[in-house]
């Protein structure tokens, strides 16, 4: 295993919700609630989850845009929070970010040369051979022409703008790129070009990526490892082939079976039809609010496995388990095993689920 370049320990980010004249804190949004992982040199960690899962907040903390409420971010073994201001700035050079929206993340009043060269100005660095030459090289590196430096962002298409954003991120020769949904805003036919570029750059420059995306196909393609987030927690983390082919967490299963597959044999059929095969799971409802996440396992209120085991436990058919009632509304609930509702499961070894061993072997969708 290569050396970790980035390590995150029990990272937490809570946002206070303030109301009224005195701006009193009335609630807390637990956007990220105790996340740990390591990223190895030259590797890609894919971070998937739905909106509100905390994946973007996590990415922003790693890039230094957001301060953690608790926990540690270690870059090359150094704790970012313990460093002096100057030290943080130096470390920040090594972790750069690529943003989702190539239309709003580039200043329309700056030329491409100014945009890509701005990191040099901020960090007061004169690259060897001068800034202008360095910008030209960066543009070439991402598949644009050095002559494009004098143009403005509106003269470029979405895919080209994303290349400009990548060139800017690479200016200070970082070791780590945090990519927050870098291809989601692009047309399918252009997405692949940017994904391939990121892969080329990784191999040429030995970069490490934290790749945040909601598109499970893109993440499978690019990531060596995948972490699945739900309500501020990582619920499953493992080598991407393992996670995709044999998910151990019921939420990962549900996420994978909900993803549209370009195969007409796999249908979103009305209830009662065979539809997407025996492995298909449709989750009911939507994720609970991160201001008031469920106790115990955060997924237990929507978990099909907890529901199935809960009714077994309620009938006394599950040895050693007692059932409790749960549900969004008091009274109108269903049974789940008591453990799910009371104790938060640990991520061990791969899935944070008390009953990971009860998740049946994967049903592969044949294509």
């Amino acid at each position: 295993m290569p050396e970790p370049v980035l390590e995150v320990r029990q990272l937490v980010r809570h946002f206070p919700v303030r109301r009224g004249l005195l701006r009193r804190t009335v609630a807390t949004v637990k956007a990220v609630d105790g996340v740990s992982f390591t990223l190895a040199a030259g590797r890609t960690l894919g971070l998937v989850g739905e909106s509100g899962s905390g994946k973007s907040t996590l990415a922003r903390m790693l890039a230094g845009i957001e301060r953690p409420t608790a926990g540690q971010v270690l870059v090359h073994g150094e704790d970012v929070a313990r460093l002096s201001r100057a030290g943080r700035k130096r470390l920040r050079r090594d972790v750069q970010m690529v943003f989702q929206d190539p239309y709003t993340s580039l200043n329309p009043r700056m030329s491409v040369g100014e945009i890509v060269g701005e990191p040099f100005a901020i960090h007061r660095i004169t690259p060897a051979g001068g800034r202008r030459a360095a910008v030209g090289e960066l543009l070439e590196l991402v598949g644009l022409e050095p002559g494009h430096a004098s143009r403005y962002p509106h003269q470029f298409s979405g895919g080209q703008r994303q290349r400009i954003g990548i060139a800017r991120a690479l200016a200070l020769r970082p070791g780590i790129l945090v990519c927050d949904e870098p291809v989601s805003a692009l047309d399918v036919s252009v997405q692949g070009q940017v994904v391939n570029l990121l892969q080329d750059l990784q191999e040429e420059l030995g970069l490490s990526y934290l790749f945040v995306a909601h598109d499970l196909g893109v993440v499978r393609h690019i990531a060596h490892e995948v972490a699945v987030m739900y309500l501020g927690h990582v619920v499953e983390h493992g080598p991407s082939g393992d996670v995709y082919d044999d998910a151990r967490h019921p939420y990962t299963r549900a996420l994978l079976s909900a993803a549209p597959v370009p195969d007409p044999a796999v249908r979103f059929a009305p209830a009662g039809d065979a539809g997407r095969g025996d492995g298909a799971i449709t989750l009911e409802g939507e994720p609970p609010s991160p201001t008031n996440p469920p106790a115990g396992c955060v997924f237990h209120t929507r978990c099909p496995l907890a529901r199935a085991l809960g009714s077994e436990a309620a009938d006394g058919a599950l040895a050693g388990e007692t059932a409790v009632l749960t549900g969004e509304r008091p009274g109108g609930g269903h049974h789940v095993p008591e453990r799910c509702a009371r104790t938060a499961p640990v991520l061990e070894p791969r899935a944070a689920c008390h009953f990971a061993r009860s998740v049946p072997a994967a049903v592969k969708v044949e294509s």
Partner: protein
């Protein structure tokens, strides 16, 4: 793990409506909605730009047609034209929109919208923008019913609850008094669908209805649409860029590129063997969640198959076939002569044979079809593509 599926049945009354509609279509045998050779132009500072050029499709009762294309392909503009909702500066320059045999484009704008209001409904991508923030959803659900059918307030209130029940919004009775911002994204999209269903339309046009939603919520909404459509035998036109969604719900597909139809076929045929190089390339470029990805630790990983370059601006379409600069099959003929949409394609007959004959607008359609490359497995194929290709083909907009 038990498989859970959204259950339940629709409210009473839909069975009757479906039966009536069956009678209607059986007697006329015309498609519910047919678009013939539609062209839409925009007047811009640089002159007239043709956004849609010769779009034809038909929708039958109980079937789903997907209109697929990337941004700028004209897929959304064409549905606005069908509904009579084109913005200022845009006009239909050619073609017919036949609703149960009547050409809506010969009517006045007001009559056009009246006809649509009764029988064709539309669902938009952004429910937050499409809903009125100052009215309750109950009010918006029944606005049309009160204005057009003269429902009393009490009947309207009851109907609003029925409609929310129909789209499975929990606690419908309590929620009709809520405003749009009090709903989550998925629930808002359900409210939009409920509003569209209020007038019991024959045809529902859904423009990227799930694009803004998370995958698990998207699956719920697509399943709901499939259910409602099957119950009511509606015709559904689904406008989308997502071929996964197309494969998941559509019966037939029309693929648009640069304002024109490049391929149309029953969905199974297109995915089994696309007949246009653009469709084929699009299918190949989808990264699969079912297979592929980095294999060994240090081995050079496969690259995604890509379409070089980018879609042309409608203001500056290439001569000949609009796809030729990005096409791996392009020859001299493609650069000079625009290929017509040809229906003379032989396909293997199968049980799903619809009234949707295959067609492709490619000089080499027969070759594409014969090459029979199974695209589903092609996602991880190593190809010499990447940034060098992009530099050769992508030019700045104003170059």
């Amino acid at each position: 793990m038990r498989v859970r599926k959204a259950g339940g049945t629709g409210p009473e009354g839909t069975g009757r409506a479906a039966a009536e509609r069956d009678g209607r279509t059986a007697s006329s045998r015309a498609p519910l909605l047919e678009v013939r050779d539609l062209a839409v132009e925009f007047r811009t500072a640089e002159g007239t730009v043709r956004a849609v050029d010769g779009l034809s499709y038909r929708v039958d009762a109980g079937r789903t047609l997907a209109v697929v294309g990337e941004s700028g392909s004209g897929k959304s503009v064409s549905s606005l034209a069908v509904m009579g909702l084109l913005p200022d500066g845009a006009r239909v320059s050619r073609g017919q929109v036949l609703l149960a045999g009547e050409d809506l484009l010969t009517l006045s704008r007001r009559e056009h919208r009246d006809r649509c209001g009764d029988r064709v409904a539309m669902v938009f991508q952004d429910a937050l923008a499409a809903l009125n923030p100052v009215h309750t959803v109950g009010y918006q659900l029944t606005e049309a019913l009160r204005a057009r059918r003269g429902l009393s307030r009490r009947d309207a209130a009851r109907r609003a609850v029925e409609l929310l029940d129909l789209v499975r919004v929990p606690n419908a009775r309590g929620r009709v008094k809520d405003h749009p911002h009090q709903f989550s994204g998925g629930m808002r999209q359900r409210v939009m669908i409920a509003i569209a269903l209020a007038m019991d339309p024959d045809v529902l046009i859904a423009d990227e209805p799930t694009t803004a939603l998370d995958v698990t919520v998207q699956a719920q909404v697509l399943r709901l649409l499939a259910e409602i459509q099957a119950e009511r035998r509606m015709g559904l036109v689904l406008i989308t860029h997502d071929l996964g969604v197309v494969a998941g719900v559509a019966d037939d597909v029309t693929v648009m590129y640069a304002g024109r139809v490049v391929e149309r076929a029953p969905v199974r045929d297109t995915f089994r063997a696309p007949a246009h190089p653009y469709t084929r390339a699009l299918l190949r470029s989808i990264p699969s969640a079912a297979s592929g990805g980095p294999q060994g630790a240090d081995a050079r990983r496969p690259r995604l198959s890509v379409i070089p370059g980018r879609p042309p601006s409608p203001a500056a379409l290439p001569a000949g076939c609009a796809f030729h600069p990005r096409c791996d099959l392009a020859g001299d003929l493609c650069r000079s002569e625009r290929p017509p949409l040809t229906t003379a394609l032989t396909t293997q007959p199968h049980d799903d044979a619809s009234s949707y004959p295959r067609a492709s607008a490619c000089h080499f359609a027969a070759e594409v079809l014969a090459s029979h490359d199974v695209p589903a497995a092609a996602s991880g194929r190593p190809r010499p593509t990447g940034r060098r290709d992009a530099r050769e083909t992508e030019e700045p907009t104003d170059a």
